[in-house]
Symmetry: C2
Subunit: 255 residues, 2 copies
């Protein structure tokens, strides 16, 4: 399983993935469930993947090699595609190509065609965008109202995002939020695991601001996990008791 989250903030993008399975295909720079295409000053495109690894690797492979885009032009890659919208369509086209080749065999073996993606980035002179792409190749875009997407094992880490994330969240705040959301997922689901890949892209920077591999020894991540746990315990302990629970207190026991 996998947990990935991407945030589209006023100040830039935050992308975070776990790495419990060994995904990843090597090209410009690849993290296990995060693939980055970067040409400093010209484009940064980040793809997070979840689902059947054979499918997601095949998709990434096609995006590296070049495929026919929806205008019928061949050889388009993530390095040549002219817009983020075009990049999202290219991921969709790659998925459909993989489905065309493998779909029937997978179906014959009752294996679900299961793959999902978060795609974020910016190309020079265009706006920064964030998409979620489904296994059918269709996609949706993040907006100010819904500034984040999650794929994989997303439910454990959703409540804190729902409570805190807005498009006005700072980049540093967004990185912390993604890490706390990941922490909840790591605690509740053994199939999501360290190390993590964290990438921060500052709007209009046209270069990756930060990417960091976070493992068991990462002092900062361990520190905020610990603090968060203590804060939750403390906050919980400070919640008042209701009057109507008095009957259940040992002191007030009726029987």
């Amino acid at each position: 399983m996998t947990y990935c989250v991407g945030l589209l903030l006023d100040g830039g993008l935050v992308m975070l993935s776990d790495s419990r399975t060994n995904a990843g295909v090597d090209h410009i720079s690849t993290f296990r469930k995060m693939t980055v295409w970067e040409k400093p000053g010209e484009r940064v495109i980040v793809l997070l993947t979840a689902g059947n690894l054979a499918i997601t690797q095949a998709v990434v492979g096609l995006l590296e090699e070049g495929i026919e885009n929806e205008d019928g032009e061949g050889g388009e890659t993530m390095e040549t595609v002219p817009s983020m919208y075009g990049a999202a369509r290219l991921v969709g086209a790659a998925l459909r190509e993989v489905y065309r080749v493998d779909g029937e065999s997978l179906n014959a073996q009752s294996t679900e065609f299961n793959a999902s993606f978060i795609l974020g980035g910016q190309i020079k002179d265009r706006r920064m965008r964030l998409f979620q792409i489904y296994s059918a190749g269709n996609f949706i875009e993040a907006t100010d109202d819904t500034p984040y997407f999650q794929i994989g094992e997303h439910k454990y880490g959703k409540p804190i995002l729902d409570r805190v994330a807005t498009h006005r969240t700072s980049l540093v705040g967004g990185a912390k939020l993604a890490l706390i959301s990941m922490d909840s997922t790591l605690r509740s689901n053994i199939s999501v695991g360290l190390p993590l890949d964290l990438l921060i892209y500052r709007k209009d920077g046209l270069a990756v601001s930060l990417h960091r591999r976070i493992d068991e020894d990462d002092a900062y991540f361990n520190d905020i996990r610990q603090r968060w746990s203590e804060s939750l315990g403390k906050a919980f302990g400070e919640l008042p008791d209701p009057d109507w629970l008095a009957a259940c207190q040992p002191e007030g026991a009726k029987a």
Copy 2:
């Protein structure tokens, strides 16, 4: 959808269910996804249900009417079954009976035979127990290591339980914990909704200590939801920034 949680604590049981669909069959006392069989001084048995409503209602109906138990004796009901273990087996037997009658038709219409249950209670001179029963009628029992069960839309509300719940949690603490776990679920999943049914059973009390319908106007629930949200926001805001994020601060921008 549904979210139900049951906690087996040293001091007693806490059972909480939402009520977004209209479930519930009337007998001794019934809440929408919570059915209670109570004979004060003799037994308290509480059943929480999730899944296909036609199946869960049929199961509750059989448990009221009486069915053949696994010893081949007919007419056993939740009011006559001699032990909590027997009660769990009776729920399993009822499920299998419903499957025998309806399973083929459901299957023919590609409808999953989907039902799950949390069963808790105590019968005189026996210990208090908590079970989770699967759609195949098999079941597991809560222990000191894993003192709670969830059914339905359980992931959103699991992280806080994982962090806080132990068998030593007080009954009042358990009730608050169940409510906070429910709050996270309510916020993140529109298919889980108020009102809630909260039941507290104090160990060896052999009578329901408290059951309460909690709706939109419940001052206490609204108060702790608000406090919890504020505490989380505050705790999140107090998390320190890492040194390695300095590059992403507007002040420290490199490009």
